[in-house]
């Protein structure tokens, strides 16, 4: 069967039959503008401490775990799903690896364990959503509860401190002045971006999110693909768990608390449609950074957390309203299978 959707969809640059040399995504520029504006506010309010190398490094380090989780969440939402279990998967992966650490297993086994637990949970989500026909919201809600319960059972609801110096010294180190955690985030982001925008797998993800029935009729194995997308989300949670354990030197069933909300917020303000079919990893990354920078500004200016939460809510609503207005100005919604970036048509 001909796989029509394997051909490059129309890119924004080609709309109206005109190909621009430098395709510009106004929404991403706007988001980038918001991020720069926040950085400017931070610099004006705290000129001595905000835009220092140490603070930028700290902000990126703190953004790493939620950034990686948000990459996986972007895949799931573009494919038309939702994953409410990411926080619990981070908790379970972190607790499992620190349980092994307390039993004198080395760092390699710990990391592999976190990745396998995350991937396993993600695949269970995916298989039951696609083959078991369980609604994603319900399935991932169930996994959220189950994984949390398993994490509590495994840890005895205790914080398990990692004394494995090899593990902590490696993941808390810096390479050429860049923290290892930030390098990990960059690697996950780049790989995710390439997969989403330069491979058949990515185009199929957009296609399934845009119209799964049309995708199925065009020859895409929608069920298998959906299962794999949830597996990617789980794997990202395993990676994030490693980062959290490295940062806190501990595994606890409270790790990853509210990650699902933070990741969905970052994905949404990044321009990804909750209905699926359209999204941008770059937007997601900017979304994560916006919240991280906001947190740093509020902390450095000694402002209350309640005001911070109000500001966070306002930013989410504002970003969504701006995107809605931008779409209305364009006069029509974009094609469901249309990625934000310009595909090259490479086949994989």
């Amino acid at each position: 069967m001909t796989k029509a959707l394997d051909r490059s969809p129309v890119s924004p640059a080609e709309e109206g039959g005109k190909r621009r040399s430098f395709p510009v995504d106004v929404r991403l520029l706007g988001l980038g503008g918001v991020l720069l504006l926040l950085c400017l506010i931070g610099f004006i309010t705290q000129p001595d401490t905000f835009l220092t190398q140490e603070n930028i490094s700290t902000m990126l380090r703190l953004a790493a775990a939620i950034g990686v989780v948000s990459v996986g969440m972007t895949f799931v939402i573009i494919a038309g799903g939702i994953d409410l279990s990411v926080g619990s998967m981070v908790a379970l992966s972190s607790v499992w690896m620190t349980t092994l650490a307390t039993q004198s297993y080395g760092p390699v086994v710990m990391v592999l364990c976190a990745l396998l637990v995350g991937l396993g949970c993600g695949l269970v989500n995916g298989v039951l959503v696609s083959y078991g026909k369980v609604v994603p919201f319900i399935m991932t809600l169930a996994m959220m509860a189950s994984a949390k319960g398993l994490a509590e059972r495994l840890s005895g609801r205790r914080t398990q401190v990692v004394t494995e110096s090899g593990f902590t010294s490696f993941f808390r180190a810096s390479f050429l002045g860049i923290p290892v955690l930030v390098i990990m985030l960059a690697m996950v982001f780049v790989v995710g971006w390439i997969v989403l925008n330069r491979t058949t797998f990515g185009r199929r993800t957009y296609a399934i999110g845009g119209n799964s029935e049309a995708a199925r009729l065009s020859g895409i194995n929608v069920k298998l693909h959906t299962a794999l997308v949830y597996g990617i989300s789980g794997l990202c949670c395993g990676i994030a768990a490693t980062m959290v354990v490295a940062r806190t030197t501990s595994g606890a069933s409270t790790n990853g608390l509210f990650y699902e909300l933070d990741a969905i917020a970052a994905v949404v303000i990044g321009g990804t449609l909750l209905s699926g079919g359209r999204g941008s990893l770059i937007g997601t990354l900017i979304g994560v950074l916006i919240f991280t920078v906001l947190n740093s500004i509020f902390t450095q200016n000694n402002l209350d957390t309640d005001i911070q939460n109000i500001a966070k809510g306002a930013i989410i609503v504002g970003a969504v309203l701006l995107q809605h207005t931008a779409r209305q100005r364009k006069g029509k919604p974009r094609a469901p299978s249309e990625p934000d970036t310009q595909p090259t048509g490479s086949q994989s």
Binding site: T49, R158, R247, T249, S250, D306
Partner: protein, 351 residues
């Protein structure tokens, strides 16, 4: 037909995955109880230590979802085992208020002699406490206080305000000893919306002001290691000049210490809160920023069981002139430092 088979296969695969996970949990799980050395109430004084009239004590508490709460339940059970004349009827811990009310009602119906209740929510459990008191069963209310004294015979709990006061006084005294002028004193609070956090912060602020100091950079975490690490990392970036830091809770303190280690800072000292064994070990080692912690000890659960036993036997506290158990007992937030840490290790709890 094929679709049905696939769906069934998928379901079975998923179930097998979850089952394998559960088995692996069983295989790799640690036994947290084995790591705990429960604090036990003293053997009583004089005649009180002698076995007396048998007493059945009903016990209800929230779910042991963190180290401190787990220690409360462990201590209560250990204390009951210590007395040959006590039978403990303990219910499964729950954070569901309705379920806890139902548990208390079951204990009343079971005809226990005394009830020890650590409510998940004091206000919500008040009616259950009153129901027991009206049925003639004395209630020992632990930590989270009921709305009215009519709902309990005696209350025992910690002192959040004095926790803050003692942390503030220790920090102020230490800074004056070091001859630090205009010090910058940071605070890593717990969940800001909780009254206990507000009381701790108020006590800290009042104590520092009395000594001529003030609270500087302040962040609120969520009693979890991860939130402690995140908020402290940001606080340290904003406070390039810092002399002391008080962290409200030793559970989140694991993350606070991790953030300090990541920053490589050694220009300030830190005081913890609650009294976990982990923090006490760091205090004893004296190789990092943690120099003290102010207690909010789960040993109060052991004391609650001991008092419940005496209530059931119509006895008072041996060393007091009173014939009866007091209506209220507030535990003291002692400051644990390197000098006295050995004597407090027995009340340290596992995070």
């Amino acid at each position: 037909m094929t679709r049905t088979n696939l769906a069934r296969r998928g379901f079975l695969f998923g179930a097998a995955g979850l089952g394998a996970g559960a088995v692996l949990v069983g295989c790799t799980s640690n036994e947290p109880e084995a790591q705990n050395t429960p604090q036990q109430a003293g053997n009583g004084q004089g005649a009180n230590s002698e076995p007396g009239q048998p007493v059945t004590i009903g016990f209800s508490a929230p779910a042991a979802d963190h180290g401190w709460m787990a220690a409360m339940t462990i201590n209560a059970r250990a204390s009951a085992e210590q007395f040959s004349d006590v039978t403990l009827n303990a219910t499964e811990g729950t954070n569901d208020v309705n379920q806890q009310i139902a548990q208390v009602e079951q204990l009343i119906n079971a005809g226990v002699d005394v009830l020890v209740i650590l409510p998940f929510d004091g206000k919500a459990l008040t009616s259950a406490g009153r129901q027991a008191m009206d049925a003639g069963i004395p209630v020992v209310n632990v930590d989270r206080v009921f709305d009215t004294p009519l709902a309990y015979r005696t209350w025992i709990g910690g002192d959040n305000y004095r926790m803050g006061v003692n942390a503030g006084n220790y920090i102020a005294t230490e800074l004056k000893r070091q001859n630090v002028n205009n010090p910058v004193i940071g605070e890593v609070a717990g969940i800001d919306s909780l009254p206990l956090t507000q009381e701790r912060s108020q006590g800290f602020k009042d104590a520092l002001e009395q000594q001529g100091f003030s609270v500087g950079p302040r962040v609120a975490a969520e009693f979890t290691p991860e939130s402690g690490e995140r908020q402290t990392s940001n606080l340290l970036q904003g406070a390039q000049n810092l002399h002391a830091l008080w962290n409200h809770d030793d559970d989140q303190g694991v993350g606070v210490v991790a953030a300090i280690e990541s920053s490589g800072r050694s220009d300030f000292f830190m005081v913890g809160g609650a009294g976990s064994r982990n923090m006490m070990t760091l205090i004893k080692e004296d190789s990092g920023p943690v120099k003290a912690t102010v207690l909010y000890s789960p040993s109060m659960a052991s004391s609650a069981i001991a008092m419940a036993r005496l209530l059931g036997q119509d006895k008072g506290l041996a060393d007091l002139a009173e014939h009866e158990i007091p209506a209220e007992v507030t535990t003291y937030s002692a400051v644990v430092t390197k000098e006295n840490v050995d004597s407090y290790m027995d009340v340290g709890f596992d995070s």
